[in-house]
Amino acid sequence: MKRKMTLLLAVCIFVCVLGTACGDQSNTTDQPGTGTGTITEVDTDASTGEKGDEADSLVDQLVAECSSLSGMEAYKFFNTLTERGLSQGEIIDFFVKLPISTANQEVYDLYMNDALDVYAESAPEGVVYNEYEWKLGDGTEITGPYSNNTNLKMAYTDYLSVEEGPIGDPNKTYKIGVVAISAIDSWMGNLYDSIHYEANRHENLEIVWMDYGLDSDGCSDAVDMLIAQKVDAILLWPRTEAATTEPAKKAEEAGIPVITVDRLCGYPDVTGVISGNFPANGAQCAAYLVWQLAQETEEKAIEGNIVLLRKAAGVTADTLRCGYFLKVLSYFPDIHILESYYDNDDTEQSLVNAQNALQQYDDIDAFFCEGLTQTPVAIEAVNSANRWESREDGKKIIMLTIDDTKESFNFIDQGLVEVNCPYTPLIGDIGMRYLIKMLEGEELPKDVAIPNIPMVTAKGDTIFGLKTMSSEDWYQYASGPDYIAE
């Protein structure tokens, strides 16, 4: 027995020794560790240096003015936005840039406890390339090359546009490696569609597709394999920030430019970041809620009880959407968050969460459904509990959703959902075109934002000067297969 214990001990010591064996192998980048209890800030991008614009600093001014207000004063301030001469995108920006307020201590505590401030700080402030403005009706209709969904329309084909046909040097074949999460639901499948669509338009573009199946370790291996194949560029779609830092770094150090699409990657020096508009999703939902609550009480008070149905913990989609949602709500002390549920990306757990919330609380005023798995089950739960008119005075429970499927638009038409912030998956093509432009030698800014889209409401109301879309407007762009309802 002694011999075996010493053997075990030997193994332990060996591993520890290996681990510390080399002080000089350290690869610490930028700032050295402080060693004290402070937060070491992630290097946020430097593209916020564009302070030349009048309107930009106007938004910042307004944000600064509003940050000390609370309650009805804040609401009145929001109402003045219509008269400040801001464009639609700037109004959305205003809500996105609002800092967290301590007016509502409960919301502030929830925000801090879930470490949402850390994620909010590291969210990139992208710049819209070439001052592109998206108008309703832009885009191209396609049938998805991967998913075979018909009736898809890509909204951003004119953004960073590139002509069809061979790129760069027509005699050379360019190889682009794509490292994708997987396609386990139709949203992800549509993102695959968008990447394939753009690649199919150019004959001398070859894609090497690596699918890492939700496994962070597999992501690292995929990048290694692409480096071995000497690709010209890598399009990375990260699942989590932390685990994709190392792979991105490896590729960049091997001389292959890496750009990320949709979610963020932890490595600060990637060549390009196409960031999705998670912050705008959350912020707009909150703005709508505030407006709706105020309308109901004829602008006397803003109070309500909210249940948060969230995705899994620690995922960018959850942290940014929920974080920015809470930030706007923190200005109103009479709003209560009844409970925040995680569902671990399990649809059944979502259903159970929604049912339990209805069971627990008799006075729910609104549900915040963070994604496309939460929305249908929340509606199902309220349906089966027959609680649509369970608020005070028989008012309808407010459904705030962030969903981009054709199914959810049917819900809006049926009057079940008040607001839906679209987050279209057909953005892979923007990433491809960024790479194409880069390979053709063009200078591009590092952080490119996907233009913010206004939310969709049932009647296309105007919220604080922001003209929202109606479901007919956006339905053509919605993702997923056609949903046929009675």
């Binding site: 913990a313 259903l351 069971q359 997923g480």
Partner: protein, 324 residues
């Protein structure tokens, strides 16, 4: 004091032996009911019970099917994958004709069960090994068939929706299905010779074989039953959720085995009853519901669920008569 403990233990062992382990199941269920009556009375609201039993019923159905397999001494961890595959096969067929889709779902369940059973009895590979392999095969196949896309169960699929979301006399249909199947299987186990053959196979394979029981046929039929029930559970579950993804069956193998074990079925085979599994299902659902309503949060519930499973099986172990 020692003597007292020993005599209590002996008493428990006697009783549990006599009632085939049902006594312990009842005891545990009773304890949980008492705890929730005292601390979390909201559990007993009718709507809550209805929701909870409807949502967890598919898990119960899978467990009932799996119990048969475990009773014969084998195990099947591919039940989750069978669920996913059944819905994937039916995904395209739904648009042609709903009854055909439902038939396809059942056929897939029976077919995959048959495949499992055949491979296990003909090649004599231990069932755990084989079903780990077939889990990957079925999951992969399911994803290939639908290209990993989500299939919506829309309002036009009336049969599926009405069965999954409906109630008869206030009792949710999925729960009724679970109860009926459990009682049916219990009847088969206790009253028919086939049921007796299942027990013989589980208790001592060689002796059963030598006394003329066709153990291959028994096992294959049990696997087919387990596959069919898994497919039915998939149908009910996707009807409730309104959609079916390639992750439909994830975690159901573990849940089903936990329920069966909670109900007193021994993983070695030959011991336990389907009524016990039913009780295990109610216990497990109650446990999850209590944890949820007590507002512990999803992740604390996960931890406590794990602890409770181990605790309950430990208690079963204490009351099992030691043969050594």
């Amino acid at each position: 004091m020692d003597k007292k403990v020993k005599s209590i233990r002996g008493f428990m062992q006697e009783v549990s032996e006599k009632t085939h382990g049902l006594f312990i199941s009842f005891l545990i269920l009773a304890v949980l009911l008492i705890i929730s009556a005292i601390f979390i009375p909201k559990v007993f609201q009718l709507k809550n019970l209805e929701n909870l039993l409807r949502t967890y019923a598919p898990g119960g159905i899978v467990a009932v099917g799996l119990s048969l397999v475990i009773l014969t001494g084998e195990i099947d961890v591919s039940v989750g994958a069978i669920m996913t595959l059944a819905m994937a096969v039916a995904a395209k067929i739904y648009d042609f004709s709903e009854p055909a889709a439902i038939a396809a779902i059942c056929a897939t369940g029976i077919g995959t069960g048959f495949l499992n059973g055949l491979l296990i009895t003909k090649t004599k590979v231990p069932s755990l090994m084989l079903t780990i392999g077939t889990t990957s095969v079925f999951n992969g196949l399911a994803a290939i068939l639908v290209k990993a896309q989500k299939k919506y169960i829309t309002d036009i699929y009336e049969i599926t929706l009405s069965v999954a979301k409906g109630s008869i006399l206030g009792i949710p249909i999925p729960l009724l299905v679970c109860l009926v199947l459990a009682i049916l299987f219990q009847f088969i186990l206790r009253k028919t010779s086939f049921g007796k053959h299942i027990y013989y196979t589980g208790t001592n394979k060689r002796a059963a074989w030598m006394s003329g029981v066709n153990i291959d046929r028994v096992k294959i039929i049990c696997f087919m039953a387990s596959g069919l029930l898994a497919a039915v559970a998939a149908l009910l579950l996707s009807g409730q959720l309104g959609s079916s993804t390639v992750q439909l069956g994830t975690g159901y193998d573990v849940t089903a085995i936990s329920i069966a074990v909670l109900g007193g079925i021994s993983l070695k085979g030959g011991k336990g009853t389907v009524i016990g599994t039913l009780l295990g299902f109610i216990t497990m659902s109650l446990m999850q519901n209590m944890l949820a309503i007590a507002q512990f949060g999803t992740y604390v519930s996960t931890t406590l669920k794990g602890v409770m499973i181990v605790l309950v099986v430990y208690l079963y172990g204490l009351t099992a008569k030691r043969k050594e």
